[in-house]
């Protein structure tokens, strides 16, 4: 289990290992639009925990695309090995996707334009609830926006 707050863990994964931060920055608006669409659909369902699960499940294949397309093979290998070392019993590729998802949402909260902020906050809330419910990564002890 990582000692550091989860966002730091996610930042390490994306910036130090996958080196996907430029890809994410470059495609910020497309990424936001896609995640916001999923958020909109989740909101249309209901406000319960099921909607959070649907939101995360719908976004993960998209985020997996960011992991694979936004990283080079050698960086991906290093990131996977690092994730395996940190969480030896987890699926390292899924861990990298989850961390990338956290990173994107956190970046959106911190640096997204003000018009996007309510949507990022809503997504962040869904992720928090989802992680708290699943107990994944020991809950999300991240810094706030």
């Amino acid at each position: 289990m990582p000692e550091q707050p989860v966002f730091e863990f996610a930042r390490l994964a994306v910036e130090e290992y996958l080196k996907a931060q430029d890809f994410i920055k470059q495609h910020h608006s497309e990424i936001f639009k896609r995640l916001a669409d999923a958020e909109e659909r989740a909101r249309a369902r209901d406000a319960g925990p099921e909607a959070n699960v649907v939101f995360v499940a719908e976004c993960l294949p998209f985020v997996a695309g960011i992991v694979h397309v936004g990283s080079q093979l050698n960086d991906f290998r290093e990131a996977r090995d690092w994730a395996l070392k940190k969480l030896p019993y987890a699926d390292a590729v899924s861990v990298l996707s989850a961390l990338t998802f956290l990173y994107i949402v956190e970046k959106g909260l911190r640096f997204g334009n003000p018009a996007e902020l309510p949507v990022w906050q809503s997504m962040s809330h869904r992720l928090d609830s989802f992680l708290a419910a699943s107990g994944a990564l020991g809950g999300r002890a991240s810094s706030s926006a």
Binding site: H27, E30, R34, L60, P61, F62, V63, A64, G65, I66, V67, H68, V69, S71, Q72, L73, F76, R77, R80, D91, A92, V93, S94, L96, S97
Partner: protein
């Protein structure tokens, strides 16, 4: 008059699905023509069927295809009935002749899987002319299987180099007394021609033919070099609802000048694919099983996979393809070679997030489609 067609199930479990049988012997035995026939089940209900004209110049390749209306019991037979039909039934066969001008590409669909096959070496305004005979797009539903992650992202252009099912090279062995090495024929830069396109209730199929090329060998009896003009044929088949493409390969040669009957020649074909399943896909291949293999991505949240099966045996599976010029994208390339044969039946499987892993499905399809297919004969 009504004729019985027995379909035997070689397996120890009930089996259904499409059945293929050469049409010409049936036509000769029954006197029923391809343009007016019908297949019925025991209750007299129509059975979905079609007759595909694989090569209009060779009626011996005409094929009757039908969907077994109910599963054949284990290690036993099911029966359908053939009789002359008075008119076209809604579910009866249809077969379209090849267009007069061969198009640059042909698209086949099973409903679930859609394959866009490039006949021309180049499909755009670039000078990238190495795509002949390749599927440049394979879509499972709305997802592009050759570039799954870009497809899932939706905002990145697909890799223009993506392709699969391409036979880029043939090796033609020479006679034993020949001192020259095997003849290499590269097919990826020469256009294919559409020979036939068939679409019916059971399947879609097309046959394509390579540009002609010469095969030269030494005739020890006449003590002179001889030339054959050859064409490589590929029939690609998608059964309705299927997630795989069945392919039949053969090589036809005829004496230069067109004298004499065409003959069937031995060849070994090399397949090439450039598809991105994700970084570091897993290859499933048993060293002692040359009949099928698969490459998939069991980790993470997206699980694309490709499987291949053949009755000709496949050699070493190379990943990445040696010498691929773009080192960064070499991880997307795969190649393998079939053992020498005169005819090969192959299967290409495409999976995305299925409940059954790609390697299990590939092995199962090898068994059902290649090794022990349902067999039919007129009684």
């Amino acid at each position: 008059m009504r004729f019985e067609i027995d379909v035997s199930n070689p397996s120890d479990y009930p089996r259904g699905g499409p059945v293929t049988v050469p049409w010409q012997p049936i036509e000769q035995a029954t006197g029923i023509g391809a343009s007016a026939f019908q297949l019925l089940d025991r209750n007299g209900c129509g059975v979905s069927a079609q007759i595909d004209r694989i090569d209009p110049t060779d009626p011996s390749l005409d094929t009757l295809v039908f969907s077994l209306p109910s599963k054949a019991p284990p290690e036993a037979s099911a029966t359908v009935f053939l009789e002359a039909g008075s008119g076209a039934r809604p579910e009866a066969s249809c077969c379209f002749p090849a267009p007069a001008d061969s198009p640059a590409r042909v698209e086949l669909s099973s409903g679930a899987l859609t394959v866009s096959l490039s006949l021309a070496p180049c499909q755009d305004a670039t000078d990238h002319d190495w795509f002949a005979g390749s599927a440049q797009s394979v879509r499972l539903g709305a997802v592009e299987m050759l570039d799954v992650h870009c497809s899932n992202l939706g905002f990145i252009k697909h890799d223009p180099e993506k392709r699969c099912m391409q036979i880029d090279r043939l090796l033609l062995s020479r006679p034993a007394w020949e001192e020259l090495p095997d003849q290499e024929v590269y097919l990826h830069r020469s256009p294919y021609q559409l020979v036939s396109f068939c679409s019916g209730p059971v399947r879609e199929a097309c046959t394509i033919m390579s540009s002609p090329f010469e095969y030269v060998y030494w005739d020890p009896f006449e003590r002179q070099s001889r030339n054959l003009v050859c064409s490589f044929y590929r029939t690609l088949i998608l059964h309705r609802g299927s997630d795989s493409v069945i392919e039949e390969l053969w090589l036809k040669g005829a004496a230069a000048g067109g004298s004499g009957n065409p003959i069937s020649l031995s060849f070994s074909a090399r397949y090439f694919a450039n598809m991105f399943l994700g970084h570091e896909p897993v290859v499933y291949r048993f060293e002692t099983v040359p009949d099928w293999f698969a490459a998939g991505y069991p980790a993470g949240d997206v699980h694309p996979g490709y499987g291949f099966a053949t009755d000709a045996h496949a050699g070493h599976f190379r990943h990445p393809h040696p010498g691929y010029p773009d080192a960064e994208k070499a991880e997307r390339t795969f190649s393998w070679e079939l053992r020498p044969c005169k005819r090969a039946r192959c299967l290409h499987l495409f999976r995305l997030n299925g409940a059954v892993p790609v390697e299990r499905r590939a092995g199962h399809l090898w068994y059902e489609e290649i090794y022990k297919p349902l067999r039919a004969k007129v009684r």
